[in-house]
Symmetry: D2
Subunit: 415 residues, 4 copies
Amino acid sequence: MYMREIELKGHIIDSFILAKVFDKTLELGGDYKVLEFDIGKKKTDTSYAKLLISGDTQEHLDQILESLQNVGANIPEIENANLKKALKDSVLPDGFYSTTNHPTHVKINDEWIEVANPKMDAVIVVYPEEKLAETKVMRKVKAGDYVVVGHNGIRVIPPEKSREAGQLFEFMNSEVSSEKPKEAIIRRIAEEMHEIREEYKKTGKGGIAIVGGPAIIHTGGGGALAKMVELGYIQAILAGNALATHDIESALYGTSLGVDIKTAKPVTGGHKHHIYAINTIIDAGSIKDAVEQGRLKEGIMYQCIQNNVPYVLAGSIRDDGPIPDVITDVMVAQDEMRRSVMDKKMVIMLSTLLHSVATGNLMPSYIKTVCVDIQPSTVTKLMDRGTSQAIGVVTDVGVFLVLLLNELEKLESRK
Amino acid sequence: MYMREIELKGHIIDSFILAKVFDKTLELGGDYKVLEFDIGKKKTDTSYAKLLISGDTQEHLDQILESLQNVGANIPEIENANLKKALKDSVLPDGFYSTTNHPTHVKINDEWIEVANPKMDAVIVVYPEEKLAETKVMRKVKAGDYVVVGHNGIRVIPPEKSREAGQLFEFMNSEVSSEKPKEAIIRRIAEEMHEIREEYKKTGKGGIAIVGGPAIIHTGGGGALAKMVELGYIQAILAGNALATHDIESALYGTSLGVDIKTAKPVTGGHKHHIYAINTIIDAGSIKDAVEQGRLKEGIMYQCIQNNVPYVLAGSIRDDGPIPDVITDVMVAQDEMRRSVMDKKMVIMLSTLLHSVATGNLMPSYIKTVCVDIQPSTVTKLMDRGTSQAIGVVTDVGVFLVLLLNELEKLESRK
Amino acid sequence: MYMREIELKGHIIDSFILAKVFDKTLELGGDYKVLEFDIGKKKTDTSYAKLLISGDTQEHLDQILESLQNVGANIPEIENANLKKALKDSVLPDGFYSTTNHPTHVKINDEWIEVANPKMDAVIVVYPEEKLAETKVMRKVKAGDYVVVGHNGIRVIPPEKSREAGQLFEFMNSEVSSEKPKEAIIRRIAEEMHEIREEYKKTGKGGIAIVGGPAIIHTGGGGALAKMVELGYIQAILAGNALATHDIESALYGTSLGVDIKTAKPVTGGHKHHIYAINTIIDAGSIKDAVEQGRLKEGIMYQCIQNNVPYVLAGSIRDDGPIPDVITDVMVAQDEMRRSVMDKKMVIMLSTLLHSVATGNLMPSYIKTVCVDIQPSTVTKLMDRGTSQAIGVVTDVGVFLVLLLNELEKLESRK
Amino acid sequence: MYMREIELKGHIIDSFILAKVFDKTLELGGDYKVLEFDIGKKKTDTSYAKLLISGDTQEHLDQILESLQNVGANIPEIENANLKKALKDSVLPDGFYSTTNHPTHVKINDEWIEVANPKMDAVIVVYPEEKLAETKVMRKVKAGDYVVVGHNGIRVIPPEKSREAGQLFEFMNSEVSSEKPKEAIIRRIAEEMHEIREEYKKTGKGGIAIVGGPAIIHTGGGGALAKMVELGYIQAILAGNALATHDIESALYGTSLGVDIKTAKPVTGGHKHHIYAINTIIDAGSIKDAVEQGRLKEGIMYQCIQNNVPYVLAGSIRDDGPIPDVITDVMVAQDEMRRSVMDKKMVIMLSTLLHSVATGNLMPSYIKTVCVDIQPSTVTKLMDRGTSQAIGVVTDVGVFLVLLLNELEKLESRK
């Protein structure tokens, strides 16, 4: 029987932390005893619990403790984190600690250091001299890097459920269903976006990133999104060749996949338009060049260029062309995506499973995340893959964007 | 080898009739020989073909011929239809002819008689004295009825593809996909509805029936639909206990399934509201009574009462209550549904697989049919079950109705 | 400020009851204070909490308390339940208590009485003289019945999460996803079914009910299900006209919806087979008559007749025919469905949203419930509508049944 | 009025070619007149039609003619194809011809040359000296290449519908529905696979490529697929990092995504297994190295190495790691995918929208294509994007593979 005391603090009951600790321990075949328990008497009080956790072997106990850390338990009289040097580039030492996407601290030389840039499924690399720590994805680990192994000296802080009412991210639970009053939900998202934009205007910080797929254009939502870029609501766009191509197709020819956006009728020779659009940009040199040469005069990409909104176009094996702006090496693309999303306040994912899951993997859980898709399975998969903070809105992205712009414009005119 | 000549006339090439005849014949193991062929030289010309169809046995040939009739082939030197008396109520004679939902004629005493009230999967009952024929569902057949058996003397007229451009029902093909420009599609539907309403105002004929499920209310589309009733766009509503209940819940409490329609927040005790709504109506006596007693003051059902728009509420085993207006015997409900839909010009099916398929089964193929659902499978199933004339719009019904009302109001104000 | 003490007992932490009580209270705008708290020290110990709940008005407090009862809170020094007479048939007194599907007790004359036949969205009718109480659906309430109003004197016992590992209903969480190892899950269901059958054989109690849709037959799973009936695994079948019709179609013609089950090829004239099948049964008189006349010789319905397995065929507005065994009044059908499912140990719902939700509405939460459907939305909707105990298996019902029978036969031969 | 004669030959009626020509012409606002028509008298006869097509302008007519070519029309007294030199790398001359995925010929110096390696959305590059032509994707076009422009001198041969019965690819139509008899369909696929393998064994030509996603492993189908590789049924695998990673995870730890494949239970620390699996392969050097070092001993990838079955692992922005075998540049990956699929007889796509559409884009329409997915939308999208030859099987991939292996083993043992 191997044992270890752990401590839990905060709103551990209504954040389900205590329940999860009990649950996880029993699920993993361990046991617990409550040593101390001090329940918060009022809603503003925090609670405290000291528990004794036991496992069959040291390894078993370690596994349990690691799981408990990931649901928010802390281990008192914490030892320093154990570090091991990576011996080869990209190869991790045995027993490395694999991160969550929650804010994390690591104890080095008896000091707690915050781990920079949380993301899931990465490792923690520590620079003891500089008292710094950061997450690194596997392939970025270099021989000689100090990697955290085991579970000692790690503290994970999952988002506590806020007790303030009224905000989008509190009122909506994560139940994924299309059967919700959509106008009301869209209004709440608009209010949240408006607030973030106002703050961004004042401070130059935060802002909103869009992660989008080509269905935005096919369903007729491109115009609304372009307008939002123009109005300053969007600070970054993460997408692929398809979104840019069909946006440009619709700017040049009025069609998307050969269907006229204004009439919903297929157009003569329209199936070639997206290929022609790509050819135009290749000929121009880049999207920016096409704008500057006066060849591209409207649409989402045009507004990005005009308003200095950065975009990352990540390549995929489905791409025709691609447009020269597309980053064809997916690892390079991941790095760029991460850079452009890390400092945002909100990420809105629009009708793209691939880019949504990819972005969710790259970013910390404290960024507000909305996922809009007509298929509930997209939202479910995103959350299954670890982006559990996402709020799902199961609706048609084309009409969603039209109504969202309506609401934003009402907020604009109100002032 | 058993053979028979058949004739094909009309736009048999671009309506695929000729191809289907060839196809069906070979698929069923038969063979064909072209005896005469006169192709329409210009787009306004019709074509003519005389074919010799052969099968292994008389029965085999009959099976083939019956299939060919259903895709539009005619059999020249047509014999009269064969009639057999039903010996028991609801029991059909062997070899009875099972109908399509297309307009159909039957040859009786060397005269072609139009079969009244086409619907699929029914039988044709003939009244030779009166020179009348009608479809009857199985359970309505009485002992002594003359039922058509075999395939002789029957002519089916499937809808020919119109060559006029510009109308909703021509420009949209039946491809079921969410990735279409929705604003444009909604505008077309609005124009079609407007035209039908204008005609209805003038002639009192035609009109539009709604077939709807409770997701209309849950997704926040109830207000828009109520307004359409008020504006005279709707001439009948076919629904169930759930649509009426949640509509009345939202009128009485502002919620649907306990969620506030205006804020999208769940409401204290809201899960009881729909039960309370039902109780209110039971206590009042009926929906009409509740309106007259001043207890029900808004919503879809209220507008139906105020504007004399008839509704059929068909019962289902899922029903709570139900509201007294609900017809709990499903066979009685079918009869009422059929009565209220037969003379309409257009049927719009909104987020209900059960009622949509049921209505599709009851009505002729010449009524324009739009099916709106967030699940493509609903549209696919509707068409698989024989309602092949339906146009599918894969979108979120709540936002669809809000945008559809916008478009209708634009058309109103334009005048 | 209105206040009331409540008590919580049992595994209130790892069953999330305490967290839900805190959560619900704050969500509804109330407040709480912890008066006493005694945490279970070991995994076998239960915990105890005494809380003071406050609300703005008596009504507000009552609403909160009612919500807390439904998540498992008890109110100590409990007053007797309040009863009010129903004044009219089917009309409930104001403020009636609407039930959950969990086991419930009601305090009458200082005595706790168990409420018979729990189901959701019903009311509790009390017979004080006989010391009895039962749930009644609205339409069954008679003038003069004593109906429970308000929240006093009611105790609800939601299923506590078991701490024993290894059983199907513990190991699977309710996450609805198709991406799970299906062979393993099917094996677990087979083991559970086997155990239930063995117990049923010995005691004649419990057993398994199937709730099924016609996709069972279309996807080629009919043979496997018929075999399970024959092997004694099924004690009741709840379905509609369509399942019976296509089962009989496949027995008579080898097709389902006109497609040959053995070859997957469409069959000449096959679209008429289901109508012919219905006609055969109408002519025979009933399914039983058809079996006895030697006209129906295989399939699910045949096995039901041969093995005295009762079935309920509930009518719907989609029905062709229907077969004489179908109950066309949906309220009568509900009563029969409830009767046949109440004493079962397990309910397996196969590819039917309508019948699954209807059955879920009728039955208590302590019956083990498995829902198999290729559409995750069916499972989600079932759980959204209150049948939260259901375990979802997102898979193809045809192949599911084939593999399930394989596993059952392995268990048979093992002995 | 601009006019041009065209010719149609072959089974132009039951392959719908004639109907499509009429249809397309009218849809694009043109007109037609039938000059000659000779219908095939018997099912083995081909038909012939000479039509006069007219348009408003030369450009309009050209657009119509191009559309007609793509549905199979030929233009008699054909002029040579027009060629234009590309002036810059990757930039196409105006009016370039965009290819279909059907076999295509191009007329150069009065000679018809077959275009090598058909794929959709590419251009035709001609080498007049060598009398050769090939498709090239945009980015591969070099300055100086002769690119076909306009529609002259091009002949497209869409697959004619075979009149032989009994084969998988004839009996199944393209209707996408889950409601089909799955065992029968699986048996047909098995027979087709068996035949292809026998031919491959004899000739070393043809064979089957798998395009697969990680759901194969999550749903428990990995073992069955590995066995098929071992039995010689698979000649190439196209997948991504995820399939390889989870296959290796299941080989090393018995889990997929941390869930035990054999018991369906989540495993302690299982969420780290896929990361550990990647680390193992990075440490080994490659999958092959891991096999040779004895670290990887079972599974799909192991069987590929053991049986010399080539695989292409294409990178995506979702990838963790990735495994060193993954090609991170998507354009390089496309080239490899194309190389490995071009000579195959059949491609089976299993639960991956991304890789399926990508592969469909790369390959000619004459390769038999089966797409298995639990979501009908995957099949629909694949076909919408041009891979119209695909046969869709809407089912659960895990159980599909288990049953498919059963059928293949029956065929093995039969001999």
